[in-house]
């Protein structure tokens, strides 16, 4: 049983805004909360920074690396996206990453970007109440964008492509998860009918869903077959939609909201967020459940083992007994305050999870959609972690207690 591989890329806990591996996982592109994207190369058990992609003017919000065509797309708060392609330098002959600007025609920050499965299109979510679907126009030798606008009412926070290269799921701050058609005549063949619909011209809305308590939809994801949609929203819930059903299973969590999710098989999802640990959900058309966590709470972490056990068992409400909580309690009951003169983060302020802050991204690392062996996560603590999806630990009674999903027929 190999423990999760842990790499600290961010200096001084600089947040990782986004990460994307190349096809054979020898390189990773990350953005360390800045306007530059950096490429790191694997050297044994270390990662070494090899290149910097700087073209954006503002913070990079999302990166995606197309595995087959080996192209990187980045999007940022400067409302632009760049497609980066490797080509030999005219003078030295060395391979360098050449940027191509994509005119997105949006007037707010870009928030999320993903290549389509065939890698001939990509979708950029934005704060302009729109999603830009970009495809390459060989005549003009540029990327053109078409906007999905209706009926989006607020910032789009995440997108995910259906395996048929046409349908796109989007999660938005107007509390809805939607399925759109992003069919582009010059690029796509006529798609076969799916459970989401038969005729699919551009901007067809194939579904619109929300959880009961609402909340921003932070993450969306199609199952490997594309027949099921999962979305996580800010009411600390994850919902799984069977459009043919038509049933929605909503699992309310007793912990903090999830921000990101990925399917590992047709019957399991890994999701993570403000609770700093990747949770595993599994189920089928009959119902869904929280089955465990990839972060084994009993594993002895370097330096934090004792603190971890103490923190984990002291309170039935996992994170309530965190360092911040203790700081305020000590200040309140004992008049102890840790002023600016006190030493930095001590062992006591260490969380009892591998990630020490919110996880913002979980992605497929090894395997193919539908049969994923490992996933990678990155977050605000500047750590990049690779997890074996088979090592699921049950969530103890003292940890977060997942409550059963209420089946809801709509």
């Amino acid at each position: 049983m190999a423990p999760p591989e842990l790499y600290s890329l961010g200096q001084n806990q600089t947040a990782i805004s986004s990460h994307a591996f190349n096809a054979n996982r020898t390189e990773v592109a990350v953005s360390l909360n800045s306007k530059d994207a950096t490429i790191w190369e694997r050297r044994g058990h270390e990662w070494k920074q090899t290149e910097t992609l700087s073209e954006h003017d503002k913070l990079i919000t999302s990166i995606d690396w197309a595995p087959k065509s080996n192209r990187i797309v980045t999007c940022a708060q400067d409302r632009n996206a760049y497609v980066w392609q490797q080509s030999p330098d005219s003078q030295t002959g060395r391979m360098i990453w050449k940027p191509t600007l994509v005119l997105l025609r949006i007037n707010r920050a870009a928030t999320h970007v993903r290549w389509s499965p065939n890698e001939d299109k990509f979708a950029v979510a934005s704060g302009a109440r729109a999603i830009a679907i970009c495809s390459f126009d060989p005549e003009g030798d540029w990327w053109v964008s078409r906007l999905l606008k209706k009926p989006i009412r607020s910032t789009v926070l995440s997108v995910d492509w259906h395996p048929n290269n046409v349908l796109l799921a989007a999660g938005s701050a107007d509390m809805k998860a939607r399925v759109f058609s992003a069919y582009i005549k010059d690029v796509d063949k006529r798609p076969a009918p799916t459970v989401w619909g038969e005729k699919l011209p551009f901007n067809t809305i194939c579904g619109e869903y929300s959880s009961h308590a609402g909340g921003w939809v932070h993450a969306v994801g199609f199952s490997p077959s594309g027949d099921v949609l999962a979305f996580a929203s800010h009411d600390s819930s994850i919902s799984i939609v069977y459009p043919g059903g038509p049933a929605i299973y909503t699992i309310k969590l007793s912990s903090l909201p999830l921000l990101t999710l990925t399917w590992t098989t047709e019957n399991s999802i890994i999701a993570a967020g403000h609770d700093c640990q990747p949770l595993v959900f599994s189920g089928s058309e009959g119902g869904w459940d929280l089955t465990g966590t990839l972060d084994d709470p009993n594993a002895n972490k370097t330096g934090g083992g004792a603190a971890r056990a103490g923190l984990g068992n002291a309170s039935p409400v996992g994170r309530l007994n965190s360092a911040a909580f203790n700081t305020f309690r000590n200040a309140d009951t004992r008049g102890i305050s840790s002023g600016p003169g006190s030493p930095g983060p001590s062992a006591e302020s260490e969380l009892f999870t591998v990630h020490q802050n919110t996880i913002t991204s979980v992605r497929l690392y090894e395997g193919i959609p539908g049969n994923v062996a490992r996933v990678s996560t990155s977050g605000v603590d500047g750590k990049l972690v690779v997890w074996d999806v088979a090592q699921v630990s049950p969530i103890g009674v003292t940890g977060i207690v997942g409550r059963l999903a209420g089946t809801h027929l709509k």
Binding site: D174, K252, V317, L320
Partner: protein, 156 residues
């Protein structure tokens, strides 16, 4: 400098403005129906309390809680009903009662706790009672319950 321009409602010039009412599914009941439902529930709750069935009373009070516009009377009545149950419960019974509630009822109870805390001195609202319930409810339902009470736009 004239600052009156700051008070202009600029949303009225925005065709795509996102209205509060679009953020949640409206209550299908008529406002008058909601009020009579709330009155009926209040009576049922009094009977349950007289029998000593606190858990049953709380479940009844939290079912179909009024939300949305135009139902202020029903909202106040329900808050009063919930607060009367909370005040009359012994501290030792609270953990078992909150555990017995359904997840939806737990979320609704959390909303009422926060509503009560936002209105100190209103009716019989007592801060220490609400905090006692809040502690036990968080132990049973977790921080997720608090997040849902804050996120949900169906304000009670």
């Amino acid at each position: 400098m004239d600052g009156s321009f700051r008070k202009i409602d600029i949303d009225q010039y925005d065709e795509d403005v996102l209205l509060e009412s679009e953020l949640y599914e409206p209550d299908e009941r008529d406002p008058s129906q909601v009020v009579s439902d709330a009155k009926q529930k209040a009576a049922t709750v009094r009977q349950s309390l007289a029998r000593g069935d606190t858990a049953g009373a709380l479940t009844t009070a939290l079912e179909g809680a009024p939300y949305g516009p135009n139902v202020d009377e029903a909202k106040n009545l329900t808050l009063q009903t919930v607060v009367s149950i909370l005040n009359s419960t012994k501290a030792t019974e609270i953990p078992n009662i909150v555990r017995a509630l359904s997840p939806d009822a737990q979320d609704t109870l959390m909303k009422y706790l926060y509503k009560g805390m936002a209105m100190p001195g209103w009716g019989d609202v007592s801060g220490s009672v609400l905090l006692g319930w809040h502690e036990k409810l968080t132990e049973a339902a977790g921080t997720g319950c608090i997040v849902r009470a804050m996120t949900d736009r169906r304000l009670v």
